[in-house]
């Protein structure tokens, strides 16, 4: 397939893997302290497992699967709030499919649907707006979820609803923002990271300049990467090369999509509709200041949190669940006490097991239920 196969060329991959191995050998990395490179984005995590990229890397390089799966970091209390909105008579609750199975404290949206709540799976917030247009007597609530990647499409949908004068459309806003989260990870004392594979889709919106502080303040290299396997392999090589040459820079491997200053129209829509929350709760990571957004007061008429009373109760993560440690790269998914036993994709305990972009689910699906077989 044109423009896809080129980025999956096994011959180019072989050459690149050999380059990485040679560079690693020259760097003389001690085996007891391998290099830790975090891919921030869940899309990268999925590609890494799907194409078996870890098996192509020397033992001295370990990939740490970061927090960039918005479904995975959604706390139980917010899921409970979703369900309480969805179960109100007259409400149609529209959501992306992968949020349906995220466990709340008592049930999932899928279970709420089975119990009679009108929960609909949509592929875009515009589909939710269509539901509102076609069901004027109902209140349609869209579950706004995701980093800067999906933030603009939710914002534009609100602007469209405003332009059409649609009054039965609401957003339950759970959008989160990447930079404070990266800062929180970098501030974490247990963390030993040597570099980042930067998120591609988020950067398409925000550009690469917001990451400058990672190089300036924390002296870590960042390479913003595309999602095809060659993109990822090349980005790993670029991070390594920075480390080997003693450089600390923000580089852009995904220049065919990501502009340095991002997408001005998308950023304008985001700025118009949202403002930062004081703090937002993350599953596994706890509360992070300024890491979420809410609708501005001028768009309060579309805000489900203002329209409906939500319980807004903070629910502790299950005790046995070690998602936080996995997210921060302190342990591997299979080192968690409940991985593959009481926590499986069929019945997830922790958030990382829910979405196929979550490190644990990806590991379980493509790496097997136990520590992966040695396949080097």
């Amino acid at each position: 397939m044109k423009y896809v196969d080129e980025f999956r060329d096994s011959e180019k991959a072989r050459i690149l893997a050999a380059e990485i191995a040679a560079l690693t050998a020259r760097m003389a990395i001690p085996p007891r302290r391998p290099l830790h490179i975090m891919e921030v984005c869940g899309g990268h995590t999925h590609s890494i497992f799907r194409y078996g990229i870890e098996q192509m890397l020397p033992k001295e390089i370990e990939l740490i699967h970061g927090p960039g799966c918005p479904v995975c970091v959604l706390p139980m209390g917010r899921v409970d709030d979703c369900i309480s909105i969805a179960e109100r008579p007259g409400v149609i609750f529209a959501t992306f499919g992968d949020a349906m199975r995220v466990p709340g404290s008592r049930k999932t949206l899928l279970q709420a649907k089975a119990g009679g709540a009108d929960v609909r799976m949509v592929y875009s917030p515009m589909d939710a707006l269509t539901l509102a247009r076609n069901n004027p007597a109902r209140q349609v609530v869209f579950f706004g979820l995701g980093f800067e990647t999906t933030m603009p499409s939710t914002a534009l949908t609100i602007l469209q609803a405003e332009a059409e004068g649609i009054t039965n459309f609401f957003i339950f806003c759970n959008h989160i923002t990447i930079v404070p989260t990266l800062r929180a990870i970098l501030e974490s004392p247990e963390l030993q990271l040597d570099g980042f594979i930067g998120p591609g889709h988020v950067s398409m919106v925000i550009g690469t300049t917001p990451y400058d502080f990672i190089a300036a303040d924390y002296a870590k290299p960042v390479v913003v990467a595309g999602f095809e396997p060659l993109d990822i392999l090349q980005s790993i090589w670029m991070v390594l090369k920075q480390i080997a040459e003693g450089r600390v820079e923000i580089e852009n491997q995904y220049a065919r999509v990501v502009a340095t200053n991002g997408n001005a129209a998308a950023l304008a829509a985001v700025a118009r509709v949202y403002e930062l929350r004081d703090f937002f709760e993350w599953r596994g990571l706890g509360s992070i200041d300024h890491s979420g957004v809410k609708l501005r007061d001028s768009y309060a008429a579309y805000d489900a949190e203002k329209k409906f009373i939500v319980p807004n109760i903070k629910i502790e993560d299950p005790k046995a669940c070690q998602c936080g440690e996995v997210l921060k790269g302190q342990i591997k998914p299979w080192q968690c006490g409940v991985f593959g036993t009481s926590c499986t994709p069929e019945s997830p305990l922790g958030a990382l097991m829910v979405s196929s972009e979550g490190a644990c689910a990806a590991h379980y699906q493509y790496g097997g239920a136990r520590q992966p077989v040695e396949m080097r």
């Binding site: 999956r8 096994s10 072989r14 497992f49 194409y51 870890e54 192509m56 790496g367």
Partner: protein, 350 residues
């Protein structure tokens, strides 16, 4: 079955099914006559059971095969097929993969009040055409009408009886290290066609379901390569699920080669856009074949010689360890595990 004097078949004169058509009286008889019996061309007197002479069965082999399957596909009509064709092919194929000659089918229909009669006639005609093509007779059936909302338009259940040829013995537990894994053509067409037909994605595509009765292909295959260890139709859960079941049951490992798996360009593109893995997409006309190495080329040639196997391919190899695990050499040169389907099944594809 005896043919007694042909009776006049009743007709339905209203456009839609009502609860009266399920009441057991004249209206129900008219519905069964008009929709099902007229299509199936079955002129035997109606009894509560079909009667089959054992001698007739014994001509085909030495073991009886018996199977059942329900069909709730949404939408009822899709490119390449409809629920009626699917209901015949699904049960015929479940018999055929065991080495059985499919002979007799039952058909039970659960119909939602308000369903259009002409729609039912189209489904029944499609069932009749497919049954004729597959050489099976629909010999018994049942009809129930439920109130609006209690089912979605039409659900079908077919059960089937076939007879297994005496020279063939297969089972998922019989795969051995060294065996070769084959498929009879491009994968994932049915799953992709149904998802496109639903219209949720606003994608238009020329992808058609591969829904087809496979008994002829399988008969030719077994005749050419009688040592075949096992055959499975790769329906819900796709080829990945079938391979896992075989690896688990036979305590072997299976290695497949991504670059060798046949895929239509449109299905590839469809999967790229939606983030789906074609190995997990449903097929309704594709089988996974495990052949001993010395018969692999014969099996491949036999598949390719049949019009439902022209794009057949060898996709992998059975090895000995780790038992129960399926791995894939990715097109990128890495390796990964191909596990059982987890997470959301795409609902109502068959």
């Amino acid at each position: 079955m005896n043919v007694i004097s042909p009776r006049r078949l009743g007709l339905v004169h209203v456009p839609n099914v009502t609860l009266a058509h399920g009441g057991g009286g004249r209206a129900m008889k008219d519905l069964i006559d008009d929709v099902f019996l007229s299509a199936f061309g079955n002129s035997a007197p109606l009894e509560d059971q079909a009667r089959v002479t054992l001698a007739e069965l014994a001509r085909h082999g030495d073991r009886l095969a018996f199977t059942t399957d329900s069909f709730v596909v949404d939408p009822l009509f899709f490119p390449g097929g409809d629920i009626g064709k699917l209901a015949i092919c699904g049960t015929v194929n479940d018999l055929a993969v065991g080495g059985a000659t499919p002979l007799f089918l039952s058909c039970a229909a659960i119909i939602e009040e308000g369903t259009n009669i002409e729609l039912l006639r189209r489904v029944a005609r499609s069932m009749a055409e497919t049954a004729a093509q597959a050489g099976v007779q629909i010999v018994t059936g049942d009809t129930k009408i439920v109130q609006r909302g209690a089912c979605d338009k039409l659900f079908l259940t077919t059960s089937g009886i076939g007879v297994i040829r005496a020279d063939f013995c297969s089972g998922v537990h019989l795969a051995e290290p060294g065996d070769i894994v084959l498929v009879n053509g491009v994968l994932g067409d049915h799953g992709a066609a149904i998802l496109c037909a639903r219209g949720d994605m606003n994608l238009e595509s020329p992808i058609e379901s591969d829904c087809a009765p496979l008994h002829g292909l399988i008969d030719a295959l077994i005749t050419a390569a009688p040592g075949i260890r096992c055959l499975r139709d790769a329906t819900r859960g796709g080829v990945a699920t079938v391979l896992n079941e075989i690896a688990e049951a036979s305590s072997t490992a299976i290695e497949i080669d991504e670059s060798a798996t046949p895929l239509r360009e449109e299905v590839k593109a469809f999967c790229e856009i939606l983030g789906l893995d074609p190995l997990y997409l449903a097929n309704e006309g594709k089988i996974v074949v495990i052949a001993p190495p010395e018969q692999a080329q014969t099996a491949l040639a036999a598949l390719r010689a049949h019009n439902l196997g022209t794009e057949a391919a060898i996709i992998g190899l059975v090895t000995n360890a780790p038992a129960g695990r399926v791995t894939m050499q990715t097109i990128f040169g890495g390796r990964r595990i191909v596990d059982m389907l987890v997470g959301e099944q795409l609902p109502r594809i068959c």
